[in-house]
Subunit: 100 residues, 2 copies
């Protein structure tokens, strides 16, 4: 990927964390309103449930006019070092939303 | 579906709830060890993160010999009546694991 392509794909990803729920929904909606064809919702560990909620609420309540569907959902595991320096696994989820 | 088919598909589903994590992992592993080709992990709302963890831990730590892969992941929403009698939406997740 070129730098420009990397930047574009990052711009169209929403990483779910500890901020208020509606921040992320707004993030998804803004991407589509700015003309993105696809937006990816990414979440890890305990934020995965919130990620599914963000994708569903964005799609069903705020993007009805854009007819946004779930293009793909994938799960996996990532290894990372915790505070104690131990390698642990965390589950990851990616939801690709697509404007039709 | 015949009664027998319904029974079979239910037997091969694991519904994630508030029981200890390893109960569900054991449930998935037992299904495969009994000869199931596919096992579906189903979760709603706050249990979705746990569902992804159950699928990933079962697959990666306990079913290495069976070479189990993620066949499909789907998300959606279900309407249900809460304690106050109000209709609310809850996100749902289904992960189909397949023995290769």
């Amino acid at each position: 990927m070129t730098t420009e392509e990397t930047k574009k794909s990052e711009e169209h990803s929403i990483f779910i964390g500890g901020k208020p729920f509606m921040n992320y929904v707004t993030g998804v909606v803004i991407q589509f309103n700015k003309g993105a064809n696809e937006v990816t919702v990414k979440a890890r560990g305990k934020f995965i449930s919130k990620g599914v909620d963000v994708a569903e609420v964005s799609r069903r309540k705020f993007l009805e006019d854009k007819n946004v569907s779930v293009k793909n959902v994938s799960i996996g595991s990532e290894e990372f070092e915790n505070k104690e320096g131990k390698l642990v696994n965390v589950s990851v989820l990616e939801i690709v939303l697509k404007s039709n």
